[in-house]
């Protein structure tokens, strides 16, 4: 068969790519990613379709909506066209002739149709991918294995030995029933044990059944005994009932009393309050103590009141008002003075009064008039005398002398002064003139000169005034003589007016009158003195009185003798009173403290009482008392009832009275005596017997339990028997199946060995011989599957595969593949496709491979995909013809 032309309408990266192959040797060169694999896969996909969707998707064109192509294939004579659309999944095959193309129908896989091998065989034979860089030894071993496997199983990968081993081991694993070491033997053993166990279990079951029957028998015996016992017990029962009747009769009055007590209790029950007697006693005690405490408090309060009264009295006492700094002594002193002064004033007043009384008879005016007249007369007499004296020149002469002396003195001192002044002026001039300082000293004479002038001036003044006096004196003299006459006349008139004739008599009366007046005046003076005195004392007393009043004001008292006396006395007892006050105050405090304490205690006790009352639900101690009394009564009643009940219990025991009454209702009052002991003994014996049986039954139960415990359940055992029987049968079945499989496979293998192996051997030999240029004649496979080749050069000597060179082994490998493809396809001469098969080969081995391919291409089409240009270069070098396609 020849692939003449490929048309990749749209496949992978190619669109409308056409490739023409020669029918001999084709080398397709393309670097990596150039599309070699795409073309290789295109051929495969066109011939066999896609295996899986991954590959389908991989080559789905991304730059075209189509996904199809055509392949022209020829067997040398007939040309065929394969058209495949991968998208639509359509396939058409046409037989081409010059006239027309005819459609070949019912072809699903063109590869199988044209090459007559399936895809797996195609891949395993003519489509050759990269060959590993194996050593000769490895390659020889692999080849040998492949040939052996192929000889036995038609599959280079399937080893008949391994298959047989596996099938055999299935049988081996199962083993035999008589071999205890194998599974089957183990199962068989187990089965026999189980069957034994089943037998045991069945026996046990029978035993249990027997025991159960035994038990049943015993139970009927027990039943019998029980009915016996029942009869006897009934008899005793009747007897006991009559005894009970007796007890009932005895108990009846007690019960009655209980009922009465119950009624009483019931009647007071409603009133019973849950209160404690102890609490009540305590409450009473508290109440008593409260009473006495309150009394105490009353008494103390009274006492306090009394003290307060006392205190009040003391407080109103004057003594209490006297301040500490009160000057009592001064007051006393002042008051004494005050009194004394008053006395003095009184005595003085009396004295004045008596003085006044004594001078009341004297007419002072008359006396004064007489005296005045007399004095006038006397005065006139004196004036006459003076005038007489003045007219005497004694003074006049004296004055004249004095005037004259002072004038002379004035002239003299004036003169002296002038001398001194002149002397001084001369001396000063001399000094000025003579220029001698000593003359200046003479200037001092000026001073006495000035002094002399002053004296002179004074004396002159005196002389002037004396002159004036002399002149006035001369005038006076003239006046005096004139007045003297007038005066004498006046004098006479006065004497006469007083009834006197002469002045002398008048003088005598005058002297008397003067004495009288003197006395009067004396007395007036005395009175005045006394009055002054009174005034003085009064003033003093006013001052004292003011002081006293000031002091008394402090005490809010008026000035009186009583008050003073009172103050005095009060002052005396002042300290005592104070002491008394503080004493009473502290007493009050003390009592108040006691009262507070007492109050606290009272309140505490009251609270305690309230608490006790409250805890007992009482409002007052009285109600408490009532409650306690009721309780007491209740207690007494219940105690009595308890007592009665005890008596009743002693009589009737635990039995209910009414039950007893009911029970013995129909029982006669008399007791019918029986031999109870004897009957009881019988019952006892029967009970013993029954217990014996019961024990026996218990034993049976235990025995049954033991048996069932110690034996496996029959169901379980039989299930296990079934299980193992099933296992054995299935294992046996499996052995049988394995045997059948073994037999069939052996048969196939034998037939392969018989039919296929000679064919394969011959075909390999032919191809090997052809590829080696008849250097080796044939491949030999003996019965033990030893493989060797016959070398023509070495005189048909057998050479083991291990001794062949790499190149020769390659030739053998290719021979094997070609042989297989020939056999499988029925010598269809399917094109050989190499895809980068020799990449790892060195140039020497590659040369041999190219030579081999060139040789083979004489017989069939060879397509070599490569990414190297070594192959083409070598082929050129070796003068080998080839169709070179560069992608």
């Amino acid at each position: 068969m020849y692939i003449d032309r490929l048309h990749l309408r749209a496949f992978g990266k190619f669109v409308h790519k056409r490739i023409f192959f020669s029918r001999k040797f084709n080398i397709i060169y393309g670097e990596n990613e150039a599309g070699k694999s795409t073309i290789h896969n295109f051929i495969e996909a066109m011939m066999y379709g896609f295996d899986d969707t991954d590959k389908f998707n991989k080559y789905k064109p991304w730059n075209s909506s189509m996904y199809k192509g055509t392949v022209e294939i020829s067997d040398g004579e007939n040309n065929n066209l394969i058209v495949r659309d991968f998208l639509l999944n359509t396939l058409q095959i046409f037989k081409m002739s010059n006239d027309e193309n005819t459609l070949i129908e019912n072809v699903e896989v063109p590869g199988e149709y044209f090459f007559n091998i399936n895809k797996i065989s195609f891949k395993n034979t003519v489509s050759i991918s990269q060959l590993g860089n194996k050593t000769e030894k490895e390659l020889a071993g692999e080849l040998k294995k492949k040939i052996i496997n192929l000889s036995n199983t038609k599959d280079e990968k399937v080893s008949i030995d391994r298959i047989m081993y596996r099938l055999h081991s299935i049988k081996e694993e199962a083993g035999r029933e008589d071999d205890g070491k194998t599974l089957l033997g183990q199962y068989a053993l187990r089965l026999s044990q189980l069957k034994e166990a089943r037998e045991n279990s069945l026996n046990a079951k029978r035993q249990v059944m027997f025991l159960a029957m035994e038990k049943k028998k015993l139970q009927s015996k027990i039943h019998e005994i029980s009915s016996h016992i029942e009869v006897m017990e009934k008899e005793i029962f009747q007897y006991e009932l009559s005894l009970e009747k007796q007890r009932y009769l005895k108990a009846l009055p007690v019960k009655k009393e209980i009922d009465e007590l119950n009624a009483k209790i019931k009647s007071i029950e409603a009133e019973i309050i849950n209160c404690s007697k102890e609490d009540y006693n305590e409450a009473v005690e508290i109440e008593n103590s409260l009473y006495s405490m309150k009394n105490d408090r009353e008494r103390l309060l009274e006492e306090v009141e009394e003290c307060k009264l006392q205190l009040e009295t003391l407080c109103t006492d004057l003594a209490n008002k006297i301040p500490d700094d009160f000057e009592i002594d001064k007051l006393n002193l002042d008051y004494d003075i005050y009194i004394r002064n008053n006395e003095k004033i009184n005595s003085l007043r009396k004295k004045i009064q008596s003085g006044k009384d004594s001078i009341a008879s004297i007419n002072l005016e008359e006396i004064d008039k007489f005296i005045n007249d007399y004095k006038k007369a006397e005065d006139i007499s004196r004036k006459i005398e003076i005038n007489n004296v003045l007219t005497d020149n004694g003074n006049y002469e004296l004055m004249k002398k004095f005037g004259k002396s002072n004038r002379i003195r004035s002239v003299l001192t004036g003169f002296l002064g002038t001398i001194f002044v002149l002397a001084g002026a001369v001396s000063a001039y001399g000094g000025y003139y003579y220029g001698n300082i000593n003359y200046y000293y003479g200037g001092v004479a000026l001073l006495p000169g000035i002094i002399s002038y002053v004296f002179s001036w004074k004396s002159r003044n005196r002389a002037l005034s004396a002159k004036k006096e002399i002149e006035s004196m001369e005038c006076e003299f003239a006046d005096y003589s004139l007045s003297n006459n007038k005066l004498s006349e006046e004098k006479e008139e006065i004497i006469k007016r007083n009834g006197f004739e002469k002045f002398d008599t008048m003088r005598k009366t005058f002297e008397k009158k003067c004495e009288e007046k003197l006395l009067y005046e004396e007395k007036i003076k005395l009175i005045n003195y006394d009055e002054n005195k009174i005034n003085e004392i009064s003033e003093e007393n006013q001052e004292i009185e003011k002081n006293i009043k000031k002091r008394l004001n402090v005490l809010n008292l008026q000035l009186s003798q009583e008050n003073i006396t009172a103050i005095k006395e009060a002052y005396k007892r002042k300290d005592k009173v104070k002491e008394e006050v503080s004493k009473i105050k502290s007493r009050i405090d003390g009592i108040n403290n006691d009262i507070t304490k007492l109050n606290k205690e009272i309140s505490y006790e009251e609270k305690r009482l309230a608490m006790i009352l409250a805890s007992n639900g009482m409002e007052s101690v009285e109600s408490f008392k009532e409650g306690v009394e009721i309780n007491e009564k209740y207690r007494e009643l219940t105690e009595r009832r308890e007592y009665c009940r005890n008596i009743l219990d002693n009589i009737i025991g635990d039995v209910d009275f009414y039950e007893l009454k009911n029970r013995t209702k129909n029982i006669p009052d008399e007791v019918k005596e029986i031999d109870k002991k004897d009957i009881q003994l019988n019952i006892f014996k029967l009970n013993e017997e029954r217990n014996k049986y019961l024990n026996h039954i218990n034993d049976i139960h235990r025995e049954i339990e033991d048996i069932e415990e110690s034996t496996r359940g029959l169901a379980e055992i039989e299930e296990e028997i079934d299980f193992y029987e099933e296992k054995i049968s299935s294992i046996k079945n499996r052995i049988k199946i394995a045997e059948i499989a073994e037999e069939k496979i052996t048969k196939i293998s034998d037939s392969i060995k018989g039919d296929f192996m000679p064919l394969l051997r011959k075909s390999i030999s032919d191809n090997f011989s052809y590829l080696t240029g008849e250097k080796y004649t044939q491949v030999v496979i003996d019965e033990d599957m030893n493989i060797a080749v016959m070398s023509k050069e070495e005189g048909d000597r057998k050479i083991d595969l291990e001794n062949l060179s790499g190149g020769t082994l390659d030739q053998l490998y290719l021979s094997l593949r070609i042989a297989l493809s020939n056999i499988l396809s029925g010598n269809q001469n399917i094109p050989l496709i190499f895809d980068d098969s020799f990449v790892q080969y060195d140039s020497n081995r590659l040369r041999k491979s190219i030579e081999m391919l060139a040789r083979e291409s004489e017989r069939r089409q060879v397509i070599l995909f490569t990414c190297q240009n070594r192959e083409a270069e070598l082929a050129k070098e070796m003068n080998i013809k080839f169709n070179y396609i560069i992608l």
Partner: protein, 361 residues
């Protein structure tokens, strides 16, 4: 007064299980679950203040039940003193010399039907209820149908027939429905393991817990009320697990995953993790697919699953002009047209070995 009743039968306490694929542990567990079902019945009777508990035979497996277990049953009945328990003996617990019921001390509320040749009548005046019943005396056969037909009932009473029978059989106490349907107010039947309403007043309650793959569907007890000529009841499901048979028809074009999914999603997930599931695989499977692996894979999604392999392997119908290359293909050819089960199994085994051989390499 309305009588409240429970009708159950075929509990088979102590049963020996012979389901081939059940592990020993599973059988033990299932046996315990029967006891649990019995406890549940007692509980319901107590909670619902049931007046009568009718047990239509096969309460226990006579050959396998232990004395101790019977005592335990007795004490459980004792715990519901208000409920009167009427026990008819069936095929698996026939009342004969070997029946241990006779040797157990039953409480007063338990009435065991001991008549095996004639019909026994139990009358409960407080409810005016008359129960007619007859027990079996052997495992095999019972042809005493006439005794049933001969029952004469007092129509003033409420009449109940309690019977373990296979109506349509020949020798397992066959009964003609027409004869009994008008006689009784209610026929509490036992002997069939699936719930079945034969007539309005004739009911098979089925087993409260199913016992094999033949007993699929709902299982429980009947709870109802009874009056003269008026019975009302319903099936109250109490079964912990169901037996579930599913059929899956395969085709040779199905892939590994498709078959696995078909099995995986064949029922609801809750059922899968609780129930016993049997998958009946029919149709054809491609020889490329290892069913053994699929079945192993599928087990993880189920509480219990077993397969009935009724499918056959089919090879692709391809012939080649030359020699058949592949040994597997040759092997397949060897078994072509073979329908023998053993051969099919041998074929599967050989195929597995060959396939593994290829995979290993």
């Amino acid at each position: 007064m309305e009588i409240k009743f429970i009708h159950t039968s075929d509990i088979h306490l102590g049963k020996k299980f012979n389901i081939k694929n059940f592990s020993l542990k599973e059988r033990e567990k299932r046996r315990q679950e029967l006891w649990d079902a019995f406890d549940e019945v007692i509980k319901i009777a107590r909670d619902e203040s049931i007046h009568y508990l009718f047990i239509g035979g096969d309460l226990t497996e006579g050959d396998y039940i232990k004395y101790k277990e019977l005592n335990s049953i007795s004490s459980k009945f004792k715990s519901i003193p208000e409920t009167k328990v009427i026990i008819a003996c069936g095929q698996r617990d026939p009342y004969n010399i070997n029946n241990m019921y006779e040797y157990i001390e039953w409480p007063d509320n338990v009435y065991i039907i001991k008549n095996t040749d004639s019909v026994e009548e139990l009358y409960f005046p407080e409810n005016n209820l008359c129960i007619h019943s007859m027990s079996w005396d052997n495992h095999e056969r019972n042809e005493k149908s006439q005794a049933i037909y001969d029952i004469s009932v007092d129509s003033n009473k409420i009449n109940v027939l309690l019977l373990h029978c296979h109506m349509d059989s020949k020798d397992k106490l066959p009964i003609n429905i027409d004869v009994i349907k008008n006689k009784f107010d209610y026929c509490a039947m036992g002997g069939r393991h699936n719930y079945e309403q034969v007539n309005e007043n004739i009911v098979y309650c089925g087993t409260p817990e199913p016992l094999s793959f033949e007993e699929d569907g709902e299982h429980g007890i009947i709870i109802g009320t009874l009056r003269k000529k008026k019975v009302e009841y319903s099936l109250f499901p109490i079964a912990k697990r169901k037996f579930n048979v599913r059929n899956i028809n395969l085709d040779k074009s199905y892939s590994f995953n498709k078959i696995l999914d078909l099995i995986k999603f064949s029922g609801d997930t809750f059922s899968n993790i609780k129930d016993y599931v049997r998958i009946n695989l029919t149709g054809t499977v491609s020889t490329e697919i290892s069913m053994e692996e699929i079945e192993n894979e599928a087990r993880q999604f189920y509480y219990y699953i077993e397969f009935e392999d009724n499918y056959s392997y089919r090879t692709e119908n391809k012939t080649y002009k030359g020699n058949e290359f592949n040994i597997i293909e040759s092997y397949k050819l060897q078994f072509e047209d073979s329908s023998d089960k053993l051969e099919q199994q041998a074929f599967k085994l050989g195929l597995e070995v060959l396939r593994k051989e290829k995979v290993v390499n």
